[in-house]
């Protein structure tokens, strides 16, 4: 449009400043991850490692059961994502297609659940899971993750269902397709990308989660990646910073990969739409 050159320069400068603020800490994490202990102990650290090394990654794997924890995280996060989406999709469909009292109550609950202080939910859940002997077990954690990710899974899926025109379903009905047939042949294929995106988002949320895992998993061999990472912290000397950074970087890779995959779909559009309607 008609923006003056001086204003343009100011805009680019501001955007650059934002990106520096948002990205430099991450680059510093990378820098530390590839530095040998001698450089980490230096009084004047540099941005670019003078003598880059992979030793920190090797040491991180030796010191802590990282691989095992990564596997536990993967198992917990993927089961939680698949179960949550499987449970939420039918309900989201009903919520999007029918404006019943139930659908409205469910939408209200989605909003209210955002305000739960975890501590008020985790204490009773802890007691219930203890009765069921699900404390200190991955199935127990998955149960909590499923319930915890249902609100935003519903929220996202309702939006996706609304993008599937109801006229298509009606057309299929007119052509003589039964309900099940309509859902399987018409709705499901159109809804599939939205379901996958929701599942991936639920996966990242569970992969990144810390509080429930900290409370529910006590045995070190059963702990998830974020909990194991916190064992690195503490009495850290300069020599331990490298492995800590290396492990932290590795723990971020799956989340970054998923976000890169679905980044176009990650918008506040859901919230925007919900507020507008």
């Amino acid at each position: 449009m008609r923006t003056r050159p001086a204003a343009r320069v100011a805009q680019y400068t501001a955007l650059l400043a934002y990106l520096v603020f948002l990205l430099l800490p991450f680059l510093w994490l990378l820098s530390v991850a590839f530095k040998p202990p001698r450089e980490l102990g230096s009084l004047h650290p540099t941005w670019i490692p003078k003598d880059p090394t992979l030793a920190n990654f090797r040491q991180a794997f030796d010191e802590q059961p990282l691989l095992h924890a990564a596997f536990t995280s993967l198992l917990a996060a993927s089961s939680a994502a698949v179960i949550a989406v499987a449970l939420a999709t039918p309900m989201a469909y009903v919520m999007a297609r029918r404006r019943t009292r139930l659908a409205r109550a469910a939408s209200g609950w989605v909003v209210v659940s955002q305000a739960f202080p975890f501590v008020l939910v985790i204490i009773p859940l802890f007691l219930v899971l203890k009765k069921l002997r699900l404390i200190d077990s991955v199935p127990g954690l998955v149960t909590v993750y499923v319930v915890w990710s249902l609100p935003f899974a519903l929220w996202m899926l309702v939006g996706h269902v609304r993008t599937v025109p109801v006229e298509l379903e009606e057309a299929a009905a007119i052509d003589g397709a039964g309900r099940l047939r309509t859902l399987v042949s018409v709705t499901a294929p159109l809804l599939a990308p939205g379901i996958v995106a929701t599942a991936l988002f639920a996966f990242v949320t569970a992969w990144n989660e810390f509080f429930f895992a900290l409370v529910l998993l006590k045995t070190p061999e059963k702990q998830t990646l974020p909990v194991v990472l916190t064992h690195f912290i503490g009495a850290e000397g300069a020599a331990d910073l490298g492995p800590l950074a290396a492990a932290a970087f590795l723990a971020t890779l799956p989340s970054l990969a998923v976000f890169a995959l679905i980044q176009r779909r990650i918008t506040g559009g859901r919230l925007a739409g919900a507020v507008k309607s």
Binding site: L15, H44, F116, V119, I123, P124, I174, V275
Partner: protein, 314 residues
């Protein structure tokens, strides 16, 4: 449309139980069947525990005790009223939540307005700007510990290079710990707010902007008269949610300072966590949770009221 439906009806395969009176779409009388798989876990593991948690606040429930739990009425709450440590933690929590939410909103609004401009590389910039959102909170904490590290950290080194003194131990200093933690909170929550506000901006009709520009309105006038009224409901919603999320935040500060130094960054969630899972005072911690819900509910009510009013105002 109606006539087509009428005509086709006799030709449809007979599905007596569900066919005739079904409303639009496939979700007819089978709605309950579709809703139950999600509704049961929600009721059993979310609504149920919430109510159970509120009941626990009126008991002396403790971890690992053999004696049966007894009702103690409002004893937990009256104890809480006199617990100066808790109120100090509560004050810090409010300070943290208000400051982080306000800064998040202002910075995110600026970034969203920039990303809404017709700049080169804005898609790349948007993709890069959401990186903090993807990172696990524990990693964010670890990363900023490395930035703030008094010896090996880049912050002190940069300050030194700029001739701004020798720097300090940011996370252990009584005066600097809370501000340092707040910066991390803002950093971590900014992308989500930005992306939401950007979606709101992109919903405003560009013709309005152009009309205002033709009428000679400057950038600020255009923002006040055109952009803000359209953005207001979304801004209100994301701010309310940000406040709630920030007030309930745990992992970031647990990793950064674990509430130290001297309780200067002990957010209410950290306080309640220690009470429940270090000292085993389930009843007392549940009472803290109730007080936190009460505060958050006030803000949620404001959010809903504003949401309705925003809808009326257009």
């Amino acid at each position: 449309m109606t006539s087509a439906t009428e005509r086709s009806r006799p030709a449809r395969p007979a599905r007596p139980a569900t066919g005739a009176g079904a409303p639009r779409g496939v979700a007819g009388h089978g709605a309950w069947f579709l809703v139950l798989p999600a509704l049961v876990p929600i009721l059993v593991l979310s609504v149920g525990p919430l109510l159970y948690g509120i009941l626990l606040a009126f008991t002396d429930a403790q971890s690992g005790r053999t004696a049966p739990t007894r009702w103690t009425g409002v004893l937990n709450f009256s104890d809480l009223l006199r617990d100066t440590l808790f109120w100090e933690s509560f004050r810090i929590g409010l300070l943290w939540a208000v400051t982080v939410t306000a800064l998040q909103f202002l910075l995110a609004l600026g970034l969203a307005l920039l990303l809404d401009q017709d700049l080169r590389l804005r898609r790349t910039a948007r993709a890069l700007a959401i990186v903090p959102w993807a990172m696990p909170e524990v990693v964010v904490g670890v990363m900023w510990r490395l930035v703030y590290n008094p010896d090996a950290g880049i912050l002190n080194e940069t300050l030194h290079d700029l001739g701004l003194g020798d720097g300090r131990d940011w996370l252990s200093g009584l005066a600097t710990a809370l501000p340092a933690v707040i910066v991390v909170g803002v950093w971590a929550g900014m992308p989500q707010t930005t992306v939401t506000l950007l979606a709101g901006l992109q919903n405003t009709p560009p013709e309005l902007h152009e009309a205002a520009a033709v009428d000679g309105a400057g950038a600020w006038r255009r923002f006040r008269a055109v952009t803000w009224p359209a953005l207001r409901p979304i801004a209100l919603a994301i701010t309310a949610l940000d406040f709630i999320w920030n007030f309930n935040s745990f992992a970031l500060v647990y990793v950064l300072t674990n509430g130290g130094p001297g309780g200067r960054t002990r957010l209410p969630m950290l306080f309640a966590y220690e009470e429940a899972f270090r000292y085993g005072q389930f009843g007392y911690a549940a009472a803290m949770g109730c007080v936190m819900v009460a505060v958050v509910s006030v803000f949620l009510a404001l959010f809903l009221v504003g949401r309705i009013r925003g809808g009326d105002g257009g």
